[in-house]
Symmetry: D2
Subunit: 130 residues, 4 copies
């Protein structure tokens, strides 16, 4: 886990957003973010970009947990409810893993309530043998 903790610490944008690493394991990662004034959009609720950043950070950790560099190529997110306060938690889980491509589901909750659902795909830079 040491390498992945360092990987997380180098994530400047996540750090600036106040995201904290909760746990990490092969193909799985949990991060959290305490909602503050800095996360609000024009409606006063949490910015979609902040929720996406939280989910994307869990996704990056889970997809880079196998020692192969993985770059996000696609993501979709659905927002269920607007949130104003508390702590958001994102749990990323591997759905499928191929040598080149892998897919993850990320669930974002606040006090057990489902706030958003994220689905993402990475391109994996597996070394070629040809």
């Amino acid at each position: 886990m040491g390498d992945l903790e360092e990987f997380f610490i180098r994530d400047t944008f996540a750090q600036a957003a106040g995201i904290r690493l909760v746990s990490i394991a092969p193909g799985r990662a949990v991060v959290s973010m305490e909602i503050g004034e800095q996360h609000r959009n024009s409606h006063g609720t949490v910015h979609g970009g902040a929720i996406f950043t939280l989910a994307d950070t869990a996704f990056a950790l889970a997809s880079n947990s196998h020692g192969v560099p993985a770059a996000a190529i696609n993501a979709s997110i659905t927002f269920m409810t607007a949130t104003r306060e508390g702590t958001l938690t994102a749990v990323a889980e591997e759905f499928a893993l191929n040598p080149r491509l892998a897919t993850y589901i990320v669930t974002i909750t606040q006090a057990q309530e489902r706030v958003a659902l994220f689905q993402g795909m990475v391109y994996r830079k597996t070394k070629k043998r040809e």
Copy 2:
């Protein structure tokens, strides 16, 4: 445009990310972000969350440009290329508008190169007459 400029200024998360409003018109908005150290992910390229936040901000401005509050319910984003420096621009354009739902396409470029493609849907809080 005055009201929408104020709407943008209240977007704390976008402000913190260094996003600037370029232009706005009914159903259309352009924003930009100069890439800095704060926007990087663990690979040293621009964080997917930062690119999403830029696109989402243009989307929020375009979808709230008609005087009816609009909340994002869904978005998908595809990343074409990793970016390290320069200025990113996001252009949001209305694709379809119904009383309750509207859809937008957001194109994210850097020096004319296409960096990402975003598609988003909002739920519009149109006042009911029933």
Copy 3:
């Protein structure tokens, strides 16, 4: 379940694709499709449209299982692997349910292997009381 079986039988496009109803319960539906010559694309594998149709049919059954008409407004699908033969199964599960909007995850497998992942949102025509 009687009403939902009739609902399924009226789904002409699903019937033409050879989709069968396996089970249905509030917020959950399972359908299957035996792969045949009719389902192939130009590469000789199962057409993305056939896999989407299978997933979309499970999604429609699950989202219409509460007695409130629900119309799909958005869906995203990720394809893990190309399939050529056997039986595909799609399991739709409710992720979140609000009066107006609901979100479902649909997993598509073939002989336990994950073939595709689908995420969809519906607009629910809940009667208003205002």
Copy 4:
């Protein structure tokens, strides 16, 4: 165009759905489908799977138009309005092309009205030189 016409003719699922090829060029394809009884869902409108299949067929033609086999890995679709009759047209246009990945936007209309918006990504089986 001869090879691509043959490519289209081998698409059994598209043929069964009554899809016709309108035009094709590098990175661009147009297909159409006259709505019939066979395309309906349980609500009596055109099945999301039929609209997706139309869009996916245009996407497959556009992405395979460069002589490199391309397989869909991801797609998202947004439905603007329910349709009951007439002819649906899908226009696929290349948004970005890399050696391994390419992205397309597909617009689905009926009598000039926008019915759905589709965004898809392919993995391209470019021959390696390493």
